[in-house]
Symmetry: C2
Subunit: 397 residues, 2 copies
């Protein structure tokens, strides 16, 4: 299949503008891009001939002849794929990254890459069939793993044994016949926030992803920062203990990693300990009933005001906060957006994180720094993955 | 005075190329900038007419007619000013930021802004007279303080009482009649490394400034990252202690700040303690001789192999290293460059920092990460300040 995309920097900017801001008149586009009327017409004509831009309907009149709105063409369709430790989440979007159809399915965390990618392709087939869609313009994929962005493969992922070096990008691209981009899940969710969340209004922000796997995406100067070996934001396995072997055992095999203190598994482990030690009758009752605990149980107990549950969630948040103090002083972001927590846990964590960060930081970095929970909820992953794909497809050659 | 600078993005790129890479032929410039011969000639003619570019001499022949080299015009002259806690350092450079003349003078750390700026103007006058130079194209200034880059003023600087909000930029610009840019010293030194040091080869690097005042400049994607309120890199007053009041008292009034553990003042304090406790006969002898210690004494004792001096330098380095572990995992730079240490202290600090960072980091971020001492030495400040000025003067309008 021939790749269709912008032919120059102006066409790329025009497509991104229509993607981010929706349908616009030719006058508005010319003003926003600083292009003459003749040049704009020429570029729009080329994009229309390629099937990337189309007329949407009449624009509001400024007096005189009525002009029509332009938009990203209806045949431009992206897919966003968020592969989590326990779920595959797939969405189809239009050229403005509005979700048109979505399917989610639980997968075992140890299913392995071949089977997980096969399930992903099945789900993509279902949503495409739902919309009667033949062709995809591009697919973005977020993985709960360090990812070599250049190669499109996970790199030594502690939570995904068997995935190291698996060619996620190339396997999907060969099956789907369109560009496929693969990135770390926190990076992808930061892109989702940049497109459709609170991050939209900020050039510099941190997206702190809590939950099962912990990570941080950072948008600096309007661009996702991936680092020299696309390892930026890798905070999960920072070791908080002073000596080797200090702190709880982590899924990565080391001890005392941040994730081992405050990932979902740590919350469940601490909750079990509280139940067994008789510190929480509510959690003990749940263990007796269900034979064990999940993070949803911890969240329910926290929301219900169980003191032991609240204490362990706050304790986990304090560990996150100590790391975050360093990050916000170092990066000086415009806002910190927190996502990925189990529903019910977020507000308690947020309160504790704010308390520590504001108390322990010099004023220049945090004096006017908002720290908020994501308002995108669980859409950040798929929208961000679609954005990842569109950034590539709508890039200048 | 009318401001002279590039009229468009191509002229700006051309000037920066000649600044960074030195004299170039028209053919090389056209290739590097992707400009047609006609377009290049037109832009070069405009820059020459403005006195920004001139002919340098014959280029090596590619066969056929010999062409001439172009360079930044000789009348383009920048000044770099590095104001330290104990010194004002002033240099004049040509358009390639080569230092042509330099003067340094000790100033008391508490001299206050008016007197310090007056001394700076005197020194600038002397180096200009030395070179018979009338006009400056731009002046950059580095301050050992948090700086509002937009406003050109220091913000609540713990080490510079009386400087808060002082209009360093506007006062100097009014006196000198040219653009003046003011930034934090670690940022300025990072720009120096980017122009003339090891940082030249890296798009993403951290410049860790130790010494009296501690800071970190970060170049990401080839651009200095200043953050939302130009507070990025502010690590000096991260509090390492767990509780309020833990750790040594810091010059900022708080306790347990990174700088209070490993700034030069901390080294001297610990060295005095070692001398008084009888742990270092060498340091005790120096106290008896000189009535006190300076960081140069600590450095000499460290170089001479005094175990107590080496131990306290390594202890300070470990505190820096624990912060650096977080930074490198978070930012994933291509290299870490360390500068600002007293001569003699650097190698011992470097060894300890490397040991901690490599041992405590997951491999993706640090597997191929060099950590090196700056090879620019004490020129980083003035060269970086000249670069700061030139970045502004050579920017597209």
């Amino acid at each position: 299949m021939t790749f269709v995309g912008p032919e120059n920097a102006e066409q790329a900017r025009l497509l991104r503008l229509l993607r981010d801001d929706g349908p616009r008149s030719r006058v508005e586009l010319g003003d926003a891009l600083g292009l003459s009327r003749a040049r704009l017409t020429a570029e729009v004509d080329r994009l229309a001939a390629q099937g990337l831009v189309e007329t949407a309907g009449p624009a509001a009149s400024r007096g005189g002849r009525r002009s029509s709105l332009l938009r990203v063409a209806a045949q431009v369709r992206f897919a966003g794929v968020a592969i989590g430790p326990a779920e595959v989440d797939v969405a189809l979007t239009d050229g403005e990254l509005t979700v048109l159809a979505r399917r989610r399915e639980p997968v075992g965390p140890r299913l392995g890459p071949e089977a997980t990618i096969a399930r992903t392709l099945e789900l993509l087939g279902k949503v495409r069939a739902e919309l009667g869609l033949g062709r995809l313009s591009g697919v973005g994929v977020g993985l709960p793993a360090p990812v070599s962005f250049r190669d499109g493969v996970p790199v030594s992922p502690p939570a995904l044994p068997g995935w190291h070096g698996f060619g996620v990008r190339d396997v999907l691209a060969a099956e789907l016949g369109c560009p496929v981009l693969v990135d770390n899940d926190a990076n992808v969710m930061a892109l989702g926030e940049q497109h459709a969340g609170t991050g939209r209004a900020f050039d510099d922000f941190l997206y702190l992803k809590l939950g099962t796997a912990i990570g941080c995406g950072m948008v600096l100067g309007g661009t996702l920062h991936r680092g020299a070996t696309s390892g930026a934001g890798g905070i999960a396995h920072l070791r908080l203990g002073e000596g080797d072997g200090d702190g709880p055992l982590c899924g990565c095999g080391e001890s005392g990693c941040l994730e081992a203190y405050c990932g979902d598994d740590a919350l469940v482990r601490e909750a079990m300990a509280a139940a067994e030690a008789g510190r929480s009758p509510a959690l003990a009752a749940r263990v007796a009933e269900a034979g064990g605990l999940t993070v949803a149980d911890v969240a329910r107990a926290t929301t219900a005001g169980d003191p032991a549950a609240q204490a362990l969630v706050r304790g986990a948040a304090r560990q996150v906060a100590h790391v975050l103090v360093g990050l916000v002083n170092f990066v000086n972001p415009g806002i910190v957006i927190i996502g990925g927590t189990a529903p019910g846990v977020g507000p308690t964590m947020l309160a504790e994180i704010r308390s520590v960060v504001y108390r322990r930081s010099p004023p220049l970095a945090t004096g006017s720094l908002p720290i908020v929970l994501s308002d995108l909820g669980d859409r950040a992953g798929v929208v961000g993955a679609a954005r990842l794909a569109s950034d590539h497809v709508f890039a200048a050659p």
